[in-house]
Symmetry: C2
Subunit: 295 residues, 2 copies
């Protein structure tokens, strides 16, 4: 399952680190540590790198939106709500003044929309591509927390929205993290496992299955695609920021019925089920995005 | 007071952001937000950039140590204790495998020494200089929190250790954050204001005074210097990671007496006092480090 080199590196680091008394950590969308009063504190760090995740010519407001919304999407995928953000800007010489104002305009817009505050940051310089790092805290009631590891054999899995072509369509810069939907799921349906799709279904689904100790069978033809996108691209492109989650069969009918009423504008598609460990059926040769793939 | 361009940028951003319900935020060493049971949650983000804060030839273990200890130093300067760290590694193609292992070896060493756990992270690629970002949480009892803003006219201020020549001596890669000392101060002396020295006394002291709404008078000749370091370098070099703090005159004798007994190996030097707003005496032409100085 680890043709993905990034996963192999993460696995090695994970083995090397002292185990923290955390509910979730490396391998989940967020770390989750105990907080008083039946709550968990969610912790996330994430970055965008110029020429990898955005272009110098992209609107800085869109870059700011994307940088923080990636972290919001991870907090959401754990069932939580974002609270505080810390923003590190490592900028090229030409990127001060108006560029930074634009960036923060996008960040503030997202903060108003999704209910978090920027409480700190750091500024530094580089002579290479700019890097914007966002560290975000969130909160979730312990009983509403959803990790990647609770899926069971036979659970059905679903994706929201449509996949693929995120870069070409500009979706990666203006996507809407599925915070409202994920909160509703965590409260009302209690998925056994959930994550957001950032590296493409073909990379992310095996991660969810691995954390759950299961395999998977996916009906690739059923994967909802953005218009004009091939199946392979829908599985591999990444930066969809849609939700992938698993629910026990017994909850499927209620989920599908209530979803239609609650979120009529957002497609929900059942695309497969979790199967016994080692089974990985339906992805074909699709791979997903691997930051550390050998060229 | 803002010949420092970085300070001007920070001031502008601060004005543009919605005010969070935080005890401390932008302008302090850490953000501090309310937590249950009389505690504050401290939040910090900080980064090191290749060719700015370390060299490609530096030991990755030392780079890892430095990257996290900078954040530990900020948590300490607020009177707190570090708890959790999130590490973002934006690496060049050649920096995987052994380099990453070395980096995490330094991070883990610091974690054991200062009592925090790495609970998450992010890996990404760059075709420019590597960037290591550390986001860290800490905790402090509300009554033991020390910000930069509580200094009053007449308070005496002190520095720990010796200043200057951090780069040349290698101190910037192997410094020891003053966690034990800062915790003792916060519990027993209650400084009115405290910070760690990262950009040099000449940049940092004006910041502490500005947050406190005071000016300052410094006896520059009394500033403790590392051997072979000029006065100007001691004021300007930066990356000292020593503590700068202010205490009311009435506490000075007790502080000096108890410090000697408690920390006999670490120098403590009184170097000036806070004065009325607008007064900035004794720094001469020294400037401190400004990431955003015009070349």
């Amino acid at each position: 399952m680890s043709a993905n080199r990034e996963d192999a590196i993460v696995a090695r680091l994970r083995a090397a680190l002292r185990r923290a008394p955390a509910v979730a950590g490396i391998g989940d969308d967020c770390a989750a540590v105990e907080a008083p009063r039946g709550k968990l504190l969610l912790l996330k760090t994430d970055c965008v790198v110029e020429r990898r995740h955005f272009r110098a010519s992209d609107s800085p407001t869109a870059v700011g939106w994307k940088a923080v919304c990636r972290a919001v999407s991870d907090i959401a995928a754990c069932g939580g709500e974002p609270q505080h953000a810390l923003v590190t800007c490592v900028l090229r010489d030409k990127q001060t003044g108006r560029w930074l104002d634009g960036l923060y305009c996008g960040i503030e817009k997202a903060g108003r929309e999704f209910g978090f505050h920027v409480v700190g940051g750091e500024l530094a310089r580089t002579d290479g591509p700019a890097v914007i790092n966002v560290a975000m805290t969130g909160t979730v009631a312990r009983r509403e927390f959803v990790g990647r590891g609770g899926g069971r054999i036979g659970d059905l899995f679903y994706v929201t929205g449509t996949l693929g072509g995120s870069l070409r369509s500009g979706w990666h810069l203006r996507f809407c993290p599925r915070l409202r939907e994920a909160r509703w799921l965590a409260k009302n349906i209690r998925p056994t496992a959930m994550m957001d799709l950032s590296d493409g279904l073909a990379a992310d689904l095996p991660r969810l299955a691995a954390e759950s100790g299961t395999g998977f069978v996916i009906d690739a033809e059923s994967v909802p695609r953005r218009r004009g996108v091939t199946l392979r691209a829908a599985l591999s492109d990444g930066e969809d920021f849609e939700l992938l989650f698993a629910v026990p069969k017994a909850k499927a009918a209620r989920l599908e019925r209530e979803w239609k009423r609650k979120f009529p504008a957002l497609r929900l598609t059942r695309i497969g089920h979790l199967a016994k460990r080692g089974m990985a059926q339906g992805l074909g040769a699709a791979r997903g995005y691997d930051h550390f793939a050998r060229p």
